[in-house]
Symmetry: C2
Subunit: 419 residues, 2 copies
């Protein structure tokens, strides 16, 4: 029998009535002749509640106990989903991570899936079970302890199961109806994409589009898992959503697939740094040691053997970064004149596989921004992405004009109905 | 190193501050040189909350999924307790039922413990771990699925672990300071017992004293586990409580150890039943088939080949019993005149190992009751217990006068301080 993986996020299983609604979608696919592996998250809010009790015990805590505690949320949902399906006369049972087992590394709180033996679940399918409900986000270490995969890890569980069981498709049910060219809250002409390439989705995810966990996309890309993002709240049971898949010739003929943004950026500049080998290693080594995620990095040309070094990091890590940079200055490891910081900035990016074969995307982006008088503070590029740091007050404007300039706007009679 | 088992019930771990208070008691024993196995219940109210979500999915539900869901409550407490102990610099870790493993039968929702291999936990003690925190109430079936032991099952987990690990003592921390001669809410002269025999505790438990689960006492009796019931709320860290142990010569020299009562009784009488062999089997077989727990049974002498049959059952099972008795009457299996019911009754019992060697306890009990004009409706006796069914309005009075008559009243300067 063909197999589907269907993953429901926290808002899609937030209470018993939503679990039932999700179960009805599963039932539709069972009726259509599929065996199903359902992957569930914890009910919305549950994981935060459990984390709060963990952090209430101690400022520093054992990640192994953290994992044992927070993983209970998914186990509750899995049981409730199995019961709801049984109530609809569908042969179903729940599987906790250790029962499958989902074998992972021993890095608690952010473990990586290493293998998924398919025998246990397959045997039950052979015996007539139609739906295996698997707790997302969790696994089993070689030591026999419970691990978790990090925030959003249920997406990764779903994709890994789809790969292991060679599923026809992995459907990710969420509270949006698919992947959009940009955030509809900022740009009313945002348009849902029918397809997007793994690489593009990966860039969008790392730029802050919270639809899919980055690792789940990497995994889907590696194993060529057809990943479909769709809404569990669409009353019409729209089976389309957005397909995340291999790049194809007939993919939408657009150079740019989407425009992303992030408000959560702070800009730091070290002025008059001695320009000698090893300086960058000292600066970014010190920041890495304290856990600052440095994003964009720009080094100006050198004058008189000194240069300015500019980079960005998440706003909430700014105090940490300042402390680390003070420490190396006053510890004598690094000589610089000033540390300038700016939190009134935002990052806007255009992403698209088409950039590989089309030149001039960067030039067009800079031209469009300059025509509106928007000053670019920092630029970084990758093969399929161009990001700029600009004044935060221009962020929405930049998104809208870039969305228009790259031909992404929805046509009038096809405007966005819901988000 | 000597080993203790310490079990904390739901009210003793109701929130993080109570978990910390319990952890301090554990810490005291670690300091005194013990290795500890801590058994925890779910935080008070948690299990009921989980059961409510299960029953919300379906009127009839799969007990295997029920077990997977409700067992999460204990797992959360176990993790939080381990973290709290670690925060106090005590080497500790949590163990879920399947990790120990606590091997049980496959009777979900009321499984029995079959074996507890001690290797996994023992190895960690050898490695320097001082406290193993085990989730109570749960185990693992031979099929690899999670089971639960039924309400109050954490007591049984604790006693079974104490037996398997040959612990010096099994301490049950609860919200009362020990076992009392009777309920202090009904009789102000109730007195805490320093010791009580397993058999007496068993009778008291089956009579509704909710301090210990019946099966945990049976298990303690079979394996001679020293069981101590004590309060986790006593600020003086009273290490006495009540010791439940083998009967000993020097045990308190009382004929009666305690007076128990139950409001939850209904009396049923079948009048004019044909008195022939097999009739009792028909009646109680039919009641057993639908799950009615029949308690006291009395059969009057026969007149003209017909007799009256009286028995009691829990009040909430009365409708079920009536339905079953109607069915056998109208199905022609049983011929009787009337079914009389009475819910305004209560059961009062005196319990004591001393009865074995002392005659006249029953006579004294009946005399004391009759002197107050309390009519006895049904009597049953066991080797160490006499129970009577009386009008409910006399229940408190009966408890008080029996408590006094059998010499159980506390002396003035030793009255009950707390309950």
């Amino acid at each position: 029998m063909p197999l589907l993986v269907m993953k429901f996020g926290g808002t899609s299983v937030a209470d018993l009535s939503r679990i039932r609604r999700a179960a009805e979608r599963v039932s539709d696919n069972v009726t259509n002749g599929y065996n199903i592996i359902v992957v569930v998250s914890a009910m919305a809010g549950k994981t935060n509640e459990l984390i709060a009790s963990v952090t209430g015990t101690s400022a520093v805590y054992d990640a192994r106990e953290y994992d044992a505690i927070v993983s209970t949320g998914e186990n509750i949902t899995a049981g409730l989903m199995a019961l709801t399906l049984q109530d609809m006369s569908i042969p179903a049972r729940s599987w906790q991570g250790w029962q499958v087992p989902i074998n992972t590394s021993m890095v608690h709180a952010s473990a990586r899936i290493e293998s998924i033996p398919i025998e246990n679940i397959s045997r039950k399918f052979t015996d007539g079970m139609r739906v295996a409900v698997v707790s997302g986000f969790q696994g089993l270490s070689a030591e026999g302890r419970i691990t978790t995969l990090g925030r959003g890890g249920s997406d990764t569980t779903a994709v890994a199961l789809a790969a292991a069981f060679n599923a026809e498709q992995c459907q990710i049910y969420t509270d949006v109806s698919g992947v959009y060219t940009t955030d509809p809250r900022i740009c009313s002409k945002a348009r849902k994409l029918d397809r997007i390439a793994y690489e593009e989705m990966l860039e969008l995810a790392s730029l802050g589009a919270k639809i899919l966990q980055t690792r789940s996309i990497e995994l889907a890309m590696r194993y060529h898992v057809n990943l479909r993002v769709m809404s569990s709240f669409d009353e019409n049971h729209d089976v389309h959503g957005t397909l995340v898949c291999d790049e194809e010739k007939d993919m939408e003929n657009k150079v740019v697939a989407g425009v992303a943004y992030s408000r959560d950026e702070a800009k730091l500049t070290l002025t008059s740094v001695a320009d000698r080998p090893g300086i960058a290693a000292i600066i970014f080594g010190a920041l890495g040691d304290v856990g600052v995620n440095v994003d964009m990095i720009v080094q100006n040309i050198s004058e008189d053997g000194r240069t300015d070094m500019t980079f960005s990091c998440p706003t909430n890590q700014l105090p940490l970064a300042q402390k680390a940079l003070d420490a190396i200055k006053f510890g004598g490891k690094l000589n610089y004149s000033e540390l300038l910081t700016d939190v009134d900035v935002a990052k806007v990016s255009v992403v698209g596989i088409g950039m590989r074969s089309h030149t001039g995307v960067a030039a067009k982006m800079f031209k469009v921004l300059s025509e509106e008088g928007i000053n670019i503070k920092v630029i970084t590029t990758s093969e399929i992405k161009i990001s700029v740091l600009i004044d935060r007050k221009y962020m929405e404007l930049a998104v809208q004009i870039l969305h228009h300039a790259f031909g992404l706007d929805a046509v009038e009679n096809n405007s966005v109905k819901s988000h």
